[in-house]
């Protein structure tokens, strides 16, 4: 260890605030970016899943409008 005690490690002969501020901002930004990217990946997958499931539901239902009927209609001439 380059320091005699834990307090010496934290104070760093007066340079502690500068050093620790840098490391804190670095950790927050890097960690934040990693977590945020993972979260966005997850939410995109979930959105796709919901969409595919919704598509599957609508295509599974019988669609009455689209199917044409060709029943012959006899019109009475009477």
């Amino acid at each position: 260890m380059a320091f005699d005690s834990l307090s010496a490690f934290i104070v760093m002969e007066g340079h502690g605030p500068y050093v620790w501020a840098c490391y804190a901002v670095f950790a927050v930004l890097l960690g934040g970016m990693m977590l945020w990217s993972a979260k966005r990946n997850h939410s995109v997958i979930e959105a796709c899943q919901r969409r595919y499931e919704a598509d599957a539901k609508t295509s599974a239902q019988p669609n009455r409008n689209a199917s044409a009927t060709f029943a012959r209609v006899e019109i009475s001439q009477d």
Binding site: A2, H15, Y18, C22, L30, M34, S37, N41, C48, Q49
Partner: protein, 247 residues
């Protein structure tokens, strides 16, 4: 060779490779970075001139390295976008521009905080610092331009041109400490020469640089995968993949 090049252009192929690589990149990156930073913070000897403030170097130099490497790789991808119209190259640029912005900000921020106890000032308008600030604005410009254009193909082309124009800034950043008299110290790493730092300082720095590169690799894979999912969600392979769990 060309087959490999065409495969690289296939989002599906990339997706599979990225998924397999990601755990190794994450574990390796975290281990190397943690080792480098703990070594640098607690065990490396203090600098005879700067005292303990120099310990900021273990995050400042890796961040600055990545800020520039990311821009260079974006420029290569931009060229590929313009010449071969490869979709994956544009996905790459779009996915990593925000990462480049964050690392450039980190390099500037840690540099400013390091400058205060070392030079007695947070900021000077010298060549290295100013050219890094321009890099930050370039990243911001690339992100803003991409979001401003709705059409995917037009956005890809416009962004590629902007990235290529901005690449002129990279040699200026690199050689600014040699061309002009700056407050910033000369380069810490030189590939052609022996390091001027003692080994006990240089090795932890090397570890944290490598670790951060691996974590950047992980971020790139993850963010490109997200972008591919968004763009290719109508294709059958994405549908099958997402319904199988999205891995």
């Amino acid at each position: 060779m060309w087959q490999w090049f065409h495969k690289l252009g296939s989002p599906k192929w990339f997706f599979g490779i990225a998924t397999r690589l990601m755990p190794w990149l994450l574990i390796g990156g975290l281990l190397l970075l943690a080792a480098g930073l703990v070594w640098g913070l607690a065990f490396a000897p203090k600098d005879y001139l700067q005292g303990n403030s120099y310990r900021i170097i273990f995050i400042h130099v890796p961040s600055a390295f990545l800020a520039q490497s990311i821009y260079i790789s974006m420029a290569v991808a931009a060229l590929v976008t313009l010449v071969w119209r490869m979709k994956l190259a544009d996905v790459f640029v779009k996915a990593i521009a925000p990462v480049g912005l964050v690392f450039t900000f980190l390099a500037l921020f840690t540099g400013a905080v390091w400058g205060k106890p070392t030079w007695g000032t947070w900021w000077v308008w010298d060549a290295r610092l100013t050219s890094m600030l321009i890099l930050l604005f370039l990243y911001g410009g690339v992100i803003a331009l991409d979001r401003a254009i709705n059409d995917e193909k037009s956005a890809a082309r416009a962004v590629a041109v902007l990235v290529l124009v901005g690449v002129v800034n990279i040699p200026i950043i690199k050689y600014s400490v040699d061309w002009w008299n700056t407050l910033h110290q000369p380069a810490t790493f030189k590939l052609t020469e022996k390091p001027t730092m003692p080994m006990e300082m240089w090795l932890p720095l090397l570890l944290s640089v490598l670790g951060l590169y691996l974590l950047f690799g992980w971020l790139t894979c993850l963010r490109m995968k997200t972008e591919i999912l968004v763009r290719e969600q109508r294709t059958r392979w994405v549908k099958e993949l997402v319904l199988a769990g999205g891995k």
